[in-house]
């Protein structure tokens, strides 16, 4: 008997009324611990597919299975990191991370504090615990959201263009950080982006989408090309450049095909 895949989309379709976001039944299997980037043009349906994993949208048809069981409404196993409004402005950095464990009854208050501190350290914010989000940079706010989701104990991180609002330098810095965090605290990540370099740099695997209605244009195993270890020099290599060009062409053709 075949082993049950960790996370799978099985013949998923989605429409909002007459708007068909995913028309052709969508199938995809994601093994545990894989960092997957959903790459595609704006409005192609990649975010909707990711939100369905989180239970924030439901498939019109088909199902999403987590270890063989269909996912229901949102819960702690699948955490979200948004691009904006990602942390609560009325809570300090530490309180934001603690909020991730607010609804956990299996932890003592002292354990929650210890966990909060651990994840603040992991994202490099141990010195900013008492600060309010308006006093820290946009990049730090995204770190807060990541720490909160990890502290909550989520196995799957669903990230919706989390670095989209940051300037180029900060964005690169956070990409390196996220890659490091993921190797230290292995999680399954679905990372939605329309930035080709970001997708290649971060992910083990890039799913390239066509314009809406969403179909898979390519499923690229990046780790076999670039290796698992990524650092700032990764971007300078020829392999990175070639892969980037190849994907850019795919996206360009996708646009022409739609037009």
């Amino acid at each position: 008997m075949l082993p049950v895949p960790y996370l799978s989309f099985v013949a998923v379709t989605k429409n909002f009324g007459t708007l068909h976001v995913v028309e052709t039944p969508f199938n995809l299997e994601i093994p545990r611990g894989q960092f997957v980037a959903f790459l595609g043009p704006s409005g192609c349906g990649k975010t909707t597919l990711m939100r369905m994993v989180g239970g924030l949208d439901t498939p019109t048809d088909g199902s999403i299975l987590l270890e063989g069981a269909p996912v229901g409404g949102p819960d702690r196993r699948r955490g979200m990191v948004f691009q904006s409004y990602s942390s609560f402005p009325w809570l300090t950095v530490e309180q934001n991370v603690l909020f991730g464990m607010k609804y956990r009854t299996d932890l003592l208050p002292s354990e929650k504090r210890a966990r909060a501190l651990h994840y603040l350290k992991l994202v490099g914010l141990q010195d900013f615990g008492a600060a309010y989000p308006n006093r820290i940079s946009g990049g730090m706010r995204q770190r807060v959201a990541i720490a909160r989701t990890l502290a909550a104990g989520s196995e799957i991180l669903l990230m919706d263009e989390p670095f989209g609002a940051l300037d180029a330098q900060l964005r690169e810095e956070l990409q390196v950080e996220l890659r490091r965090i993921q190797t230290e605290d292995t999680k399954t990540i679905i990372f939605v982006t329309h930035d080709v370099e970001e997708a290649i740099f971060l992910a083990d695997r890039v799913i390239v989408f066509s314009p809406r209605p969403a179909t898979i244009r390519a499923d690229i195993d990046v780790t076999s090309i670039l290796g698992a270890v990524r650092d700032l020099t990764t971007r300078d290599g020829q392999a990175f450049f070639n892969l980037r060009t190849k994907i850019l062409h795919m996206l360009r053709n996708a646009h022409t095909a739609a037009a």
Binding site: G54, G55, G73, D75, G79, F88, P89, W90, K102, Y103
Partner: protein
């Protein structure tokens, strides 16, 4: 070139330019003092008849007499109590109903047309009706103030709730919160700053309607004092009464603003 003008006067009139705090303060005080000076000069030089426009000193004197001999502070206390009574009643009703309107489409769709209709009814036009219903006791005053504020406030609250980012709810859900918990620990907290602001504005409206209510149906309160003074052509007393309302309004507004700053330091 902009902002580099040498002449001091020209520096004050840089289009959309910056101005130091002291200059702004001086400009504000200067205008107020100028207005006061013109007001003082007008009756003194016989430009206006003091019966219609008493001097500032006359008004201060009238205020002093009203406070020490006529129990003006009692009337002010009565008016404040009426305003706060009606204000709290409006708030206690409008906050939960407004939140429900934005939480459940069915509640919003059911209530909105009715509220929108009543909201446009002018309060003074409903004075006769409320006297028929409630006589001229406290009920009429509270009713009129409530009428003027509740229907406005409930829509403002509904709007505050609507503006809570969907992301906040979704973050809470994916952290294990149920809708009710998301409402109390996230949505209420998120909307609180704008809610406090809207309450402050509503409190101001209460004073407008209070004067109407006290003029038509009262034997005490600031509105009654002002209206009575008018009957005897005591213009300085009329102005003193209005002045007291202005001061109370200013103080409560500033108190609200201060509370807002202290409560929401994170903004």
């Amino acid at each position: 070139m902009m902002g580099q003008s040498v002449a001091p006067l020209a520096r004050l009139f840089v289009f959309r330019g910056a101005l130091s705090r002291n200059v702004r303060l001086a400009a504000g005080c200067g205008t107020a003092l100028l207005a006061l000076a013109i007001w003082s000069a007008a009756p003194a030089f016989g430009w206006t008849n003091p019966v219609f426009l008493p001097s500032p000193l006359d008004v201060v004197e009238a205020l002093w007499i009203m406070v020490t001999q006529n129990g003006l502070l009692t009337d002010a206390g009565i008016s404040i109590a009426r305003v706060w009574g009606a204000f709290l009643l409006s708030a206690v009703m409008a906050i939960p109903i407004g939140i429900m309107m934005s939480s459940y489409r069915i509640v919003g769709s059911s209530l909105e047309p009715l509220i929108d209709f009543i909201r446009y009814l002018p309060v003074p036009a409903l004075v006769p009706l409320s006297i028929i219903w409630f006589g001229i006791g406290e009920e009429t005053k509270i009713f009129l103030l409530w009428l003027g504020t509740f229907f406005q406030l409930v829509l403002l609250v509904a709007e505050d709730m609507k503006r809570v980012p969907q992301e906040y709810f979704e973050i809470a859900y994916t952290l294990g919160a149920k809708p009710r918990a998301a409402l109390t620990s996230v949505a209420l907290r998120s909307m609180l700053p704008s809610l406090v602001d809207n309450l402050r504005i509503t409190l101001g409206w209460c004073w407008t309607y209070l004067i109407i209510a006290e003029i038509v149906a009262a034997d005490n309160g600031l509105g009654f004092v002002i209206w009575t003074a008018r009957r005897y052509m005591e213009t300085s007393q009329v102005m003193a009464g209005v002045f007291v309302i202005g001061i109370i309004g200013l103080v409560s507004d500033q108190a609200f603003r201060l509370a807002h700053r202290m409560m929401f330091r994170y903004l």
